[in-house]
Assembly symmetry: C2
Homo-oligomer: 245 residues x 2
């Protein structure tokens, strides 16, 4: 990829419509705009092809117009939910695309770890803040996270989504939920068999993912944490690690 | 079971907390009150133990107080979502239980085919209307269905959930959605290997259920039916046909 100009969006892939596999919009037909580049390096990242800079030659610097043309082509011009994901899509200039799409009845959801706040967060329809638990190897900057909440000004529907691998992650999720009592919480069992960065498909250990799912349901029930929703990555159950679905 | 008095609820089982496996509340910790008795006999019913009258000796006529005591025992007295299911729970007297639970901060969701309207529908928090498609062998009485909508008076969050096995079911779902454009729609691939009525567990053909899920996602995408959500029965993926989860 040649260097992107400030108004260009670094795109790893645009695909869909397929259903959203995770969290609050689970099951909803969606076109995904996956951006390239991330300020995090989570140990279990399942989208390394959109994170590691050795893949930057596969990313494309696209203008808002080019991205918009591809989204409308894939959706046949019919409005739907567009998911901005990554990498960390918050480091891309999405304000214009959102304005353009809203004019045509499209809606926009952004999923980010909450490390970078942008003023256009307030224009989103759905903001999924997904702080990373200890197993990721990352540390959460809660001041940056709070800035994301302030930037959204309570305008989009805002939710927490936290990946859980183990007890330490679970405790982290409890603390995060306690800190933001007003936000709905979605817990997601982690996938310990993410695809290698250069694979378009890869075997997956569904049995242990589902065992983790059962553990998480039990954990939430025994704690009487009745406000939390527990949801697996549906696309992983349906398609495994296959890319582009 | 001895004959239930008019204020008694015929209960097949009360269990939980576990997560809701279907539809709009998917993933949410829930206590289930499954009632005995149904005015339908769907060919692929997955809860025959709560439908066929040969099981009525296993059902219990319980007072509102007895049901309430069991719900609060299971939830440790902490408010959560209570799902009223069946059988057809609409043929039971649930008005008092809902009033009682609301006083303690509990919420109530009812799932019914929409064949019997009750005035207490207006007191629900969530009403899931699940009209049965052609593959069920049942015929929908749309006047009765409309009466259910009138009874709820738009007060609870009301959604359509439709099981889809094949093209005829899919067409039925499209028509139902077109008839009730204001209602969110959830499509659910059918389970062609429901448990036999007297089994507490039974083998299940996950591969074909997931193949049907993929077909349904493709179908919705190619039709650009972007408002419909497509969700599998999560509890079936997690626990198979096991009862009580």
């Amino acid at each position: 990829m040649t260097g992107a100009r400030p108004t260009e969006i670094r795109v790893s892939e645009i695909f869909g419509p397929t259903i959203q596999g995770e969290g609050v919009l689970i099951g909803l037909p969606t076109v995904f705009v996956r951006t390239g580049g991330c300020d995090y390096r989570c140990s279990w990242c399942d989208s390394l092809h959109a994170v590691e800079s050795r893949f930057r030659d596969e990313w494309r610097a696209m203008s808002t117009e080019e991205v918009w043309r591809e989204v409308t082509r894939l959706s046949g011009g019919k409005p739907l939910m567009v998911s901005l994901s990554g990498g960390n899509p918050a480091i891309q200039p999405f304000g214009e695309l959102i304005g353009c799409g809203h004019g045509q009845g499209y809606r926009f959801a952004l999923e980010t770890q909450g490390s970078v706040a942008r003023d256009w967060f307030a224009d989103l329809d759905v903001l999924v803040l997904s702080p990373k638990p200890p197993s990721s190897g990352m540390e959460t900057d809660w001041e940056a996270f709070d800035a994301c909440l302030r930037a959204s000004e309570g305008k989009p529907q805002t939710v927490l989504k936290i990946v859980v691998f183990d007890e330490a992650d679970y405790d982290y999720a409890r603390s995060a939920a306690a800190r933001y009592r007003h936000l709905p919480v979605y817990l997601q069992p982690g996938n310990h068999t993410p695809p290698p960065a250069d694979a378009h498909d890869a075997p997956i250990d569904i049995d242990r993912i589902m065992a983790r799912m059962r553990w998480l349901v039990d954990r939430v029930a025994e704690d009487r944490w009745f406000e939390a929703r527990v949801l697996p990555q549906l696309h992983v159950l349906i398609w495994g690690n296959r890319r582009g679905v």
